[in-house]
């Protein structure tokens, strides 16, 4: 496992991340890009690998904190489910809803077929 050395300089202008091993490989980037439906060039893949490595190395500092007994917060403000009456109301209609469609046929969006 690599360990990043967190930069402590106040303005961080000379921050240099030291790693014994790059966390993020080109294969990682390609995998994540596929999940995110992004096509990256070779140059972009290399650039992102380095930048993501630096950023993920930085966020490693969260492991300095013991959070074993802490509950995660998904919502900052105390709230309960916001329900409404299950009653039909007007909607914006097909015309408006499909007005921005790149390729529209009647009330359908037309897309390229799924190719196996």
């Amino acid at each position: 496992m690599s360990t990043g050395t967190a930069c402590r300089a106040p303005d961080k202008s000379n921050c240099v991340m030291e790693h014994s091993v790059m966390k993020i490989t080109v294969a990682n980037v390609e995998y994540v890009a596929r999940l995110a439906r992004l096509a990256l060039s070779e140059a972009e893949t290399d650039l992102f690998a380095g930048q993501m490595d630096a950023i993920l190395g930085y966020v490693d500092k969260l492991n300095e904190l013991d959070t074993a007994d802490i509950r995660p917060t998904s919502h900052a403000v105390p709230m309960e489910n916001a329900f409404r009456e299950d009653a039909v109301a007007s909607s914006i209609g097909v015309g408006k809803a499909l007005a921005n469609a790149p390729d529209r046929v009647d009330s359908f969006y037309r897309v390229p077929k799924v190719i196996e």
């Binding site: 966020v59 969260l62 904190l65 917060t73 900052a76 709230m79 921005n100 897309v111 190719i115």
Partner: protein, 485 residues
């Protein structure tokens, strides 16, 4: 004084007294925009025809005696707010041709009050940025020094106020995107408590952090705008039913006995000298006004940026999955098959910063990493919230710098994303805690760049930070200084 120099409350007075019409005011703003835009670049879309029609309607309403303080006021909106029938891009190529079929609630409330929409303002793409350099529609320049950034992501909103191209604007704030540009442009910017203002019709970046807020010329205007947009919205299930007070009534000018917390983690050695000096003078001013100071600690401050760049990017990766070329926005013309079409549409439509954050978020949520990154960050978020809850047991507001430095030069940080992210250190914790904060002008650097101070309030404590900010503003001259553009 030129009409374009007036605040909301000044212009409203003149409109209601019949000294000037909304049509005249709107024409004056449009002329001002025309003369200044080539040097600033605040706008993506201008709407002069509809603006003048709205101004005519506002004049009729004022004449009939049914006017609101905002009737006839010309304003502009960050291009993240859906405006029915008016192109809305969120600063992205992927939405370059998107015309919304409905409007954001916050805009509808302002429009119902009789506001006039001058146009849509430039921003970092999908609200991801601190410098307005990632917009697909060009950069915006800081009106105080056009070689500098205006801040981001609501850079156009803040620049438009500093350049007096709109009487007031709305922005959004996820990690500081209202407060930081307000600070860099010498204007007032307020991020309300999460849930205070409806997010319906606001293009989502990070749904647990995003908030809508005003960027204005002074604190009174900020209170007026907040009052008009705040309040429960049935269309936003995260908006709260907490009643909306009269925020302008909070502007009493009295801060005697106000307990101001000074968090030691924010006043670090090595803070920019001009920022430190502005803060020292602000503390002296508040002391003269009768406030009391309490040194406090927000011990998890140092973990806030890391926490934010996991939570925000994870939420963004999910929110931006909708941009796939199927139903709206850019669709690639070069694709073979459905998945290829989605992949190419997204790759052609998104800029580098957006792609980077989607990648980070996708990674943090992916199988095998979800607990180590995303859940861990949410647990640290609980600790950060706890810091603020404890602090507010002993103080009424917390005073901090907004940014570690004044506005940096255009191009200075584009090649080092981590450096860019670290400059949000003072604003991010507030979004994670879900509470409210405001930036008010507090001084200038030696080179004439604005410096703001941040007032952080407890959840739904907007009245207290408005009161504290207004008292400071009235006791100082910073807000009266104008960019020479």
């Amino acid at each position: 004084m030129d009409i374009f120099e007036l605040t909301i409350h000044e212009l409203s007075g003149k409109l209601n007294a019949g000294e000037v019409s909304s049509v005249e005011a709107t024409r004056a703003m449009l002329a001002r925009i025309g003369s200044v835009e080539p040097r600033v670049g605040s706008f993506i879309t201008l709407t002069p025809e509809s603006a003048l029609a709205e101004a005519e309607a506002a004049d009729r309403r004022i004449a009939s005696g049914e006017a609101h303080v905002l009737t006839g006021i010309p304003l502009a909106l960050k291009d993240i707010f859906l405006t029915e029938g008016i192109r809305t891009t969120c600063g992205s190529r992927i939405l370059h041709n998107f015309v919304p079929p409905y409007s954001a609630t916050s805009w509808e409330r302002l429009r119902d009050s009789g506001c006039v929409l001058l146009g849509k303002l430039n921003q970092d793409e999908f609200a991801m940025g601190s410098s307005n350099e990632s917009s697909a529609f060009g950069i915006t320049r800081n009106p105080w020094d056009t070689t500098c950034i205006p801040g981001g992501s609501s850079g156009g909103s803040a620049a438009a106020i500093a350049a007096r191209q709109a009487t007031a604007t709305l922005g959004t704030d996820t990690g500081g995107s209202i407060r930081q540009p307000a600070s860099h442009c010498g204007c007032v910017g307020l991020k309300p408590t999460y849930g205070r203002v409806s997010r319906y019709g606001v293009i989502a970046y990070a749904s647990s952090l995003d908030q809508v807020g005003p960027i204005t010329r002074d604190v009174t205007d900020c209170a007026i705008m907040l009052g008009a947009i705040a309040g429960h919205d049935p269309k936003d299930s995260t908006s709260v039913r907490t009643p909306v007070p009269d925020y302008t009534a909070a502007l009493t000018g009295d801060v005697r006995g106000l307990k101001i917390g000074l968090p030691k983690e924010y006043f670090i050695a090595g803070l920019d000298r001009d920022v430190q000096e502005s803060m020292d003078r602000a503390i002296e001013t508040y002391g003269r006004l009768g406030a009391e100071f309490v040194e406090i600690s927000l011990p998890h401050t140092d973990y806030a940026v890391a926490t934010y760049y996991l939570i925000a990017t994870a939420e963004a990766s999910s929110n931006l999955a909708r941009y796939d070329g199927v139903r709206f926005g850019h669709r690639s013309g070069h694709a073979e098959g459905l998945i290829d079409m989605m992949t190419k549409s997204r790759s052609e439509g998104f800029g580098a910063e957006v792609k980077r954050r989607i990648m980070l978020g996708t990674y943090a949520l992916s199988s095998g990493y979800y607990d180590a990154y995303y859940v861990k960050a949410q647990k640290v978020r609980t600790l950060i919230m706890g810091d603020f809850t404890r602090a507010f047991e002993n103080v009424d507001v917390i005073l901090t710098p907004v940014a570690p430095t004044p506005a940096f030069k255009i191009g200075e940080k584009v090649d080092d994303p981590l450096q860019m992210y670290l400059s949000d250190i003072f604003t991010i914790p507030v979004n994670l805690a879900g509470t409210c904060a405001m930036s008010v002008p507090a001084g200038f650097s030696a080179s004439g760049l604005p410096i703001g101070l941040q007032l952080i309030g407890r959840p739904f404590g907007e009245e207290t930070i408005l009161r504290a900010g207004h008292a400071f503003e009235q006791a100082t001259e910073w807000h009266a200084r104008k960019a020479a553009i």
